[in-house]
Subunit: 206 residues, 2 copies
DNA sequence: CGAAGTTCTTGACACTCGTCAAGAGTTTCT
DNA sequence: AGAAACTCTTGACGAGTGTCAAGAACTTCG
């Protein structure tokens, strides 16, 4: 019996890696639908074109699969907001674009983001998840900081909070809107927008 | 076979209700230890002085038990921060007291709060939980607002964000600190304090 | 005391879960 | 071509789940 890690290292043309990614994509779809607590390997396999046994051919166990999924998810998230920074001409434009982007993401990719929060919450209980979750959190923090610091530069005024604090603030607003929007509260998205638009200028000096 | 609801209504001396609360307390302890995803009724019973069957004598099913737990938890949370409002003499004192209280709660009652976030996250997936979760969220929002609005009054300056936004901001900071503190990051609590202390004044006008 | 009602335990049920081994099917290479 | 390696399916396993029914243990009250 060959080990999973052996299979990974042996292949040059990485069909093995491609299938892993494919299965992980199916897993992500299922996870975002059901949440971590109710997602089983059989359910994941059923939402793919393979049978449940194959998962143990490509992943050592459930933890490795989920961990891989989380990392895959991160790759998708990272570069999403950077275009806003790139195209912004004024502080005010950046401000409204950012608020609008968050609202759109909340509405359109809500199911994917609730999965992220679900997994981040698992890290509160399962030590295994913490390292990966904190790494993704760090990436998101940097993403937010690129926005916030650019906003400061465009305003000609320094930012008065740490990257970590800035991330915490906007993440809180986003998560709140996510729940309320899923619960069909009509004001969820506009509240998010105005909340973000009001908060951003407050991070400037005094 | 008598229905659960019948048993509730029949008793005047509410031994039935007391036992419900007792079992729910055990359940809360277990839930805060293991998280929603890994807590079973047998585990709950094992952490109580009763056997697993009794849970179905006092609760219709698992959902009713968990829901009852969440409501019980809310009752404990509600009045905790109001003394800070009551004893504050100056805006600055309120500011540091509030920041300190959040840090202390994060450190000492971290396991209980991770349960709250866990259940709130379940509401992102399970519709059944949403009503109760949103109700608790509302209560917490009001609690935060009592702090923030008092801070505004003590400063003689109006607050420029909605209660909902204020709650989202501080909740984000708290949640971030909770994860980092559980992961034994040394700066988690001081970062929370300074984050809160820096944010609060920014909610005042201009 | 003894009957009636209440509370709790025990054990079973149908089911789902993660895991794994045996082997069939497929591709790759000589 | 045939052998070897890889990929995937099938079916089983033991463990754990929520639920429930039968009845033991206990309390209440005539």
């Amino acid at each position: 019996m060959t080990e999973v890690t052996d299979r990974i290292s042996r292949r040059q043309v990485d069909k093995f890696g491609e299938r892993r990614a494919q299965l992980a994509t199916s897993a992500l779809r299922t996870l975002s639908e059901l949440g971590y607590a109710r997602t089983s390997l059989r359910e994941i396999a059923q939402n793919s074109e393979f049978s449940h046994g194959v998962l143990h051919y490509y992943f050592r166990d459930k933890v490795e699969l989920i961990t891989y999924c989380v990392k895959l998810y991160k790759a998708e998230c990272v570069t999403r907001y950077d275009q806003i920074v790139a195209t912004a001409r004024s502080a005010d434009q950046l401000r409204t674009d950012f608020a609008q982007a968050l609202a759109t993401t909340c509405d359109e990719d809500g199911t994917m983001h609730r999965l992220w929060y679900d997994l981040r919450n698992q890290a509160l209980f399962e030590e295994n998840f913490r390292e990966d979750v904190l790494e993704i959190d760090q990436t998101l923090e940097l993403m937010i900081w690129r926005i916030v610091s650019t906003y400061g530069e465009l305003s000609g005024t320094p930012i008065t909070v740490s990257p970590s604090t800035a991330y915490g603030l906007f993440d809180g607003l986003f998560q709140q809107a996510l729940l309320r929007n899923l619960a069909h509260q009509p004001n969820a998205l506009t509240d998010l927008r105005t909340g973000v638009e009001q908060t951003l200028p407050k991070l400037l000096i005094r």
